[in-house]
Amino acid sequence: MDIGRIDQIIDKHGCKASSLIQILINIQSENHWLPKEVLERVSERLAVPMNQIQHITTFYKSFSLVPKGRHEVHVCMGTACHVRGAQRVLDTVEELTGIKPGETDVDLKFSLETVNCIGCCALGPVMVVDGEYHGNLAAGQLEDVLKNYE
């Protein structure tokens, strides 16, 4: 991610230390992760020390300090999804993408995470890809769903 774009995002939020989290969220959603150079730039522009940025970025699970794929796959492992076969869904996704929860594939295409509940238990088992919900999944449908993402 280039420095010019980072500065643009920082300026959009008025270059205030109080906007730190919002700025990090914007960078995270554009770049999918927060490289060290980016954090150093943010630290310098907002005059927020690096140890505070480190504290915040490791505190919230939505920030990633390691590269993430272009598409974020979340498989719900909540109770309702669990009893309706979330484990089978997860196993199949692992097989199709070749990665385990918390990992990213070599082409930076998919990152896989498990979540504990996404609040739509009636649709279980649920998988969310880039914010798009796929409900009532059967293991056999997964290939067709994941095929749509490049």
């Binding site: 020390p49 140890n51 505070q52 480190q54 504290h55 490791t58 505190f59």
Partner: protein, 209 residues
């Protein structure tokens, strides 16, 4: 600034408005145990060992004396059975992390805490934040901070800053009630100065070989 009068352990104490209960108590020689408190630093309320009972309007609440501001006409009790129980449990939980810390051993003796009550988790850090806050507030170097959260929360030096600043300073070392800080520093030393790690490492895997 105006003054106010409150009662601590049955004694009338005059305190400045805005002072904490801990400061008010210390001004008349009433001692309250603390772990995360330091007179040069902002109140933190991290360890809760300074918990006291505050009675106002007929209600009693347990608060951290180091952060709670002294109020007019409240009755504060610093030694009760309930507080002893709370402090004992807190010390026992912290001793799961650092069973041989001198300060904790002292407190454990005073409150009859059993260091083996909880399963060991030898992280050695009790999250008092003294090192982190001292570096930020007094030295203004921001060389180390907390990372992660909950049970995984730990202190971590920023290697670039630590390599430049920490050698001459090390003022945070004596503040640490356990040995966690020194351990973290040694770890950081190994990352920032691979050559010294090479000498001290007997396994032959030193960097640069």
């Amino acid at each position: 600034m105006s003054e106010l009068v409150l009662q601590i352990d049955g004694r009338e104490v005059t305190a400045q408005e805005g002072a904490t209960i801990l400061e008010a108590a210390e001004s008349v020689g009433i001692s309250i145990p603390t772990l995360c408190h330091h007179h040069k630093l902002e109140p933190y309320g991290g360890c809760r060992v300074c918990s006291v009972e505050v009675e106002a309007n007929g209600r009693t609440v347990v608060v951290a004396a180091c952060t709670y501001p002294a109020e007019k006409n409240v009755v504060v009790r610093t030694k009760t059975e309930k507080l002893d129980r709370i402090r004992k449990a807190l010390v026992e939980m912290m001793m799961a992390h650092a069973p041989d810390s001198e300060k904790l051993v002292e407190l454990a003796e005073e409150y009859g805490a059993d260091k083996d009550r909880f399963k060991r988790n030898q992280s050695f850090c009790i999250h008092c934040g003294l090192c982190v806050r001292y570096c930020n507030e007094v030295k203004k170097k921001n060389a180390l901070g907390f990372i992660d959260r909950g049970a995984k929360k730990r202190i971590c030096f920023i290697p670039e800053i630590a390599a430049k600043e920490c050698w001459q300073c090390k003022e945070c070392f004596p503040l640490c009630p356990t040995s966690a800080l020194q351990a973290a520093f040694v770890l950081n030393e190994a990352i920032t100065t691979p050559s010294s790690a090479e000498h001290s490492c007997s396994c032959g895997h030193g960097a640069g070989k």
